[in-house]
C-alpha cells in the first residue's frame, strides 16, 4: 500500500516538475514571424529568407517561418511595429546598421536599438572600393594622389550621406587631408550605372555585386573595406595595409526582439541561432554571398550595441548630419 502511494506521489511530482519545466521553456506554437524592413527582394528580405531556409532545412524550429515586410522610413516603421509588441515573444526582426543609425538622426523615429532586445549579431558585411577597369587608379594611393592634385573634382557614387560609404569617405578624407565629391543615388543599380558610365570615379560596393562586373572585366577592386582581407579577394589589400589608418565601420546584420522580450523566448532564439550558424548550409550561404561570420550574443552583444551606437553618433556628428538622440 505504501509503495503504491509512494509511486503515485512520485508520478505526480514528476508531472508537476515536467509541467513546471514546460512553463519555463519557450517553443513557438504558431507559425513564426520574421520581420524585415525592406520590401520583397530587398537586402534584409533576401537575408531573412536565406536564414529561414537554413532553419527549416535543418529542422531547428518546430513551425514554419513567414516573412513580414514592414517597409518605410528606412527601418523606422518596422522598429515602431516591433516596439508595439513589447513584452511579447514575437516577432523576431532582422536588423541592419540602419536600425542603429536612423533613430539617431530622425526625430520621427520613436524607438532605438537600446530599447529593443538584441538577440544575436550574425554577420558583418564587408565592402570593396572599386573603380572602372579602364581608369588610371591601380590602388588607393593612386586615387588619393589624384584627389590631392584635384581637390573636389573626383566623384564617388553612393547612397545617402548617413550611409557607410559616405562615412568611410569622410574618415578617409580626414586621414589623408584630401577631398572629393559624394553623389547620392537612390538605388544600387543607378550607382553601378554611374560608375560604369563614367559619371563617377569610384563606388563602395558589396563584394557580391562586384564579382560579376570583375569577371566581365568592367571594374577593378582597389581596396577591401574591412579589418582583414576578404576570402573572395585574397589579392586585394585592405585600406589599412595601403597606409590608410581609418577605423573600420562594421555593417552588422542580426536578429532582435521586441522590448522586454520574455527571457525564455530570448534564450530560445539565442540557442536556435547558435545552432544555425554551425550548420554547413549556413556556412555555404555566407560563402555564396561573401558575408563574414560574426556571431555574437549575450553581454558581448550588449557591449557592441552600446559602442556601435556611440561610434555612429560621433561619425555622423563629424560628417555634419544632425543627430537628434
Amino acid at each position: 500500500m505504501l509503495r503504491k502511494i509512494a509511486l503515485w506521489v512520485f508520478a505526480l511530482s514528476g508531472t508537476a516538475l515536467a509541467g513546471g519545466a514546460a512553463a519555463q521553456a519557450y517553443a513557438p506554437d504558431r507559425p513564426i514571424e520574421f520581420l524585415v524592413h525592406t520590401g520583397p527582394g530587398g537586402g534584409s528580405d533576401v537575408f531573412a529568407r536565406g536564414a529561414a531556409a537554413v532553419l527549416e532545412k535543418n529542422k531547428l524550429v518546430p513551425q514554419r517561418i513567414q516573412i513580414t515586410n514592414k517597409t518605410g522610413g528606412g527601418g523606422l516603421v518596422a522598429m515602431s511595429f516591433l516596439s508595439e509588441k513589447a513584452g511579447q515573444p514575437e516577432p523576431v526582426a532582422f536588423f541592419t546598421s540602419v536600425w542603429y543609425v536612423n533613430p539617431l538622426i530622425r526625430k520621427e523615429g520613436k524607438v532605438t536599438m537600446n530599447e529593443l532586445t538584441p538577440i544575436a549579431r550574425l554577420i558583418l558585411e564587408a565592402s570593396v572600393l572599386t573603380v572602372r577597369a579602364d581608369s588610371p587608379f591601380k590602388n588607393v594611393k593612386d586615387f588619393i594622389e589624384a584627389a590631392r592634385k584635384n581637390p573636389g573634382k573626383l566623384k564617388q557614387a553612393g547612397g545617402s550621406i548617413s550611409g557607410r560609404d559616405n562615412n568611410m569617405r569622410l574618415l578617409m578624407q580626414k586621414a589623408t587631408g584630401t577631398q572629393w565629391q559624394f553623389i547620392s543615388f537612390p538605388g544600387g543599380g543607378e550607382r553601378i550605372a554611374a560608375l560604369l558610365g563614367g559619371h563617377a570615379d569610384t563606388y563602395v560596393m558589396e563584394p557580391s555585386e562586384a564579382l560579376e562586373h570583375i569577371r566581365a572585366g568592367k571594374i577593378r577592386v582597389i581596396a577591401a573595406v574591412m579589418d582583414k582581407r576578404l576570402a573572395a579577394f585574397p589579392d586585394v589589400p585592405t585600406l589599412k595595409e595601403q597606409g590608410l589608418n581609418v577605423p573600420e565601420i562594421p555593417q552588422p546584420r542580426g536578429v532582435v526582439g521586441p522590448p522586454n522580450m520574455p527571457a525564455n523566448a530570448k534564450a530560445y532564439w539565442e540557442a536556435v541561432m547558435a545552432k544555425m550558424v554551425k550548420t554547413p548550409e549556413w556556412r555555404e550561404f555566407l560563402k555564396k554571398d561573401l558575408l563574414e561570420d560574426a556571431f555574437l550574443t549575450g553581454p558581448a552583444l550588449q557591449d557592441f550595441t552600446k559602442s556601435f551606437s556611440q561610434q555612429m553618433r560621433e561619425i555622423l556628428k563629424e560628417g555634419g548630419v544632425a543627430v537628434v538622440r
Binding site: G73, E108, F182, G189, E190, A193
Partner: protein
C-alpha cells in the same frame, strides 16, 4: 543569321508544353494583378518567388516575366471603365480612356489598349533581342544631366496638357511638384514636409494620389449629380464595342510612338513606365492634327501611353539582362530571383546562359500573343460592367480603391490620405483645375530634383553642365520647343486671322 538560330532554339524552349503553361499562368495572373489597383507586379512577383524554387529556373523566369508584362495589359481595364488606375503607369490612360467610355466607346478604348499593348510589347521584345547590348551602352551614357534633360522634356508636356487655363495648369503642376518633395531628402538626409509623421518619411505613395484624385474624385462628382441611373452609356453595336478600322488607322503613329518612347525610357534605370506614358502621350498630342481633342476621348490618347508602358517592360529587361542592373522595382525583384536561382546576373549572363535568355525572349512573343487573344474577346464582356447602376458601381469603385490601396500600403494613415486626395480631386474638378499636370508634377518632381542636384554636385555648382553635354542639351532644346508650341499656335492663329481680315 545567329539571331534567327538562337531564336529558333528559344522557341523550342518556350513552346515546350510545361513552359507554355507557365507562360499562360504568368500572363493570366499578371492581367488580374494589373486590373486590381494597389497590388502591383513587383509585389506579386515577390510573393510568388518562394513557389518558384521547385521549378526549373527558365520556367520560373518565363512565368514571373509573364506577370510583369501581363500587368501592363490589365492596368488599362479599370482605368478606362472606372477611372481607377490599376497600375501606376495606367494613370495616363485614364485621361482619354475614361472619356471614351463616357462617350459610349468604352469597348473601342479597351480594344485599342489591348492592340497597342500587343504591338508595343512585341516591339519591346524585338528590340531587346536585337539591340540589347548597344542600347545598354547608350543607357550608361545617360548621366544626371541627361536625366534632367529628359525630365524637363517630360515637364514641358504641361504646355500640352493645359486645357483652357494655362495658369491653373501651372498651379496644379507646382502643387504636384511640391507634394513630391514630401519625405526624406536623399542628399541631406533630412525630412521634408513630413509634419512629424513617420508614415510620410517615404513621401506620399503614388497610388494613393492617383486613385484618390481620379477614382474617388470622379465618384464624388457623380454622386453630386444624384444620378440613380447608369453612369456611363453601355456601348452598343460593334462600332463601339470594338475599335474600328478608322481608329486603328488614326493610331498608326501612336503605336510607333508608344513603342519607341516606352522602350527607350524603360532602358534608363530609374525612369519608370509612368514617365514613359506621359512623354508618349505628350508627343502624340504635339504631332496630332487635332490636339484640342485630346482629353475628350481620342483613341490615340489611349494607344500611345498604353503602348509606352508595355514597351517599357522590354526596355527595363535590357539593363537587367545585359548588365545585372535593375531599372525598376519589379526588375529588382527579378534580379534577386535570378541570384536565388543560382545565376550570376551581370555582363556575362546572356553569353553563359543562352537558353535562359532566348527562351525568355521567345516566351515573351508567345506571352504577348496569349494576352491579345485573352484580352480582345473579353472586351465586350468587360464593357458590360458599365451596365451596373450607379448605386452599385460607386460602392464597388470605392471598395476596390480602398482595398487596393490598403493592401499595398498596410497603413490606415494611407486610407486617410486617400480620402484627402479624393476630396482634392473633387475640388480640382469643381474649380476646373486639370488633374493631369498635377500628377505630372508629382511623378517628375522627385527624379527631376535628384537629377539636377546630382548634376550640380558633379560639376561643382556649375549650371552649364546641363547644356555643355550634347545629349542633355538636345533634350532641353526639345523641351523648349514643346513649351513654345502654345505660343506658336496662338501666333499662327493670329496670323491667319489677320490674313482673313485683310481679304
Amino acid at each position: 543569321m545567329d539571331v534567327i538560330a538562337n531564336l529558333m532554339q528559344g522557341f523550342a524552349v518556350a513552346l515546350a508544353p510545361a513552359n507554355l503553361l507557365w507562360c499562360f499562368v504568368g500572363v493570366f495572373f499578371g492581367t488580374i494583378v494589373g486590373i486590381l489597383p494597389g497590388l502591383g507586379p513587383s509585389a506579386t512577383v515577390a510573393l510568388l518567388l518562394p513557389l518558384t524554387f521547385s521549378m526549373p529556373p527558365t520556367s520560373a523566369l518565363i512565368m514571373l516575366c509573364g506577370i510583369y508584362y501581363g500587368a501592363k495589359y490589365g492596368g488599362s481595364t479599370t482605368s478606362i471603365l472606372l477611372n481607377v488606375p490599376g497600375e501606376s503607369a495606367s494613370v495616363v490612360t485614364c485621361f482619354d480612356g475614361y472619356q471614351m467610355a463616357k462617350n459610349g466607346r468604352g469597348g473601342a478604348a479597351l480594344g485599342i489598349a489591348a492592340i497597342s499593348s500587343f504591338v508595343a510589347g512585341t516591339f519591346g521584345v524585338v528590340a531587346l533581342m536585337l539591340i540589347a547590348p548597344p542600347i545598354a551602352s547608350f543607357a550608361l551614357a545617360f548621366g544626371p544631366p541627361e536625366y534632367f534633360g529628359l525630365m524637363m522634356f517630360g515637364l514641358a508636356m504641361v504646355a500640352l496638357l493645359a486645357g483652357r487655363s494655362m495658369v491653373k495648369a501651372l498651379i496644379a503642376l507646382l502643387v504636384g511638384l511640391w507634394l513630391a518633395q514630401s519625405g526624406i531628402d536623399l542628399f541631406t538626409d533630412t525630412s521634408r514636409f513630413t509634419f512629424g509623421r513617420m508614415e510620410l518619411l517615404d513621401g506620399v505613395d503614388f497610388i494613393v494620389v492617383a486613385v484618390g484624385v481620379f477614382a474617388l474624385g470622379e465618384v464624388l462628382q457623380n454622386i453630386e449629380r444624384r444620378d440613380a441611373g447608369q453612369v456611363l452609356p453601355v456601348p452598343k453595336g460593334m462600332r463601339n464595342l470594338m475599335p474600328t478600322l478608322q481608329d486603328l488607322k488614326d493610331c498608326r503613329f501612336a503605336f510607333l510612338n508608344g513603342s519607341v518612347v516606352g522602350f527607350l525610357v524603360g532602358v534608363l534605370p530609374g525612369a519608370g513606365s509612368t514617365i514613359a506614358s506621359f512623354i508618349s502621350y505628350g508627343i502624340e498630342k504635339a504631332v496630332s492634327r487635332h490636339p484640342e481633342k485630346f482629353g475628350t476621348g481620342v483613341p490615340e490618347g489611349v494607344a500611345a501611353p498604353e503602348g509606352a508602358n508595355n514597351a517599357e517592360t522590354g526596355g527595363a529587361l535590357v539593363p537587367l539582362l545585359t548588365l545585372g542592373i535593375p531599372g525598376s522595382g519589379t526588375t529588382a525583384v527579378l534580379l534577386a530571383a535570378l541570384i536565388l536561382w543560382g545565376f550570376r546576373p551581370g555582363p556575362l549572363l546572356i553569353a553563359e546562359n543562352p537558353a535562359l535568355f532566348w527562351g525568355l525572349v521567345a516566351s515573351m512573343y508567345v506571352g504577348n500573343v496569349l494576352l491579345l487573344v485573352m484580352n480582345l474577346p473579353l472586351v465586350p464582356l468587360f464593357a458590360q460592367i458599365l451596365r451596373l447602376p450607379a448605386y452599385v458601381l460607386f460602392p464597388l469603385i470605392f471598395g476596390i480603391a480602398m482595398v487596393g490601396v490598403y493592401s499595398a500600403s498596410d497603413s490606415v494613415f494611407d486610407m486617410w490620405l486617400l480620402a484627402f486626395f479624393g476630396l482634392l480631386g473633387y475640388a480640382m474638378a469643381k474649380l476646373d483645375y486639370p488633374p493631369a499636370p498635377f500628377i505630372l508634377g508629382f511623378v517628375l518632381g522627385d527624379p527631376m530634383e535628384r537629377a539636377l542636384r546630382q548634376s550640380l554636385m558633379m560639376s561643382g555648382g556649375e549650371l552649364t553642365v546641363l547644356v555643355s553635354r550634347p545629349l542633355s542639351a538636345t533634350l532641353l532644346a526639345f523641351a523648349c520647343i514643346i513649351l513654345l508650341i502654345p505660343l506658336l499656335t496662338r501666333l499662327n492663329a493670329l496670323r491667319l486671322k489677320a490674313i482673313e481680315q485683310a481679304e
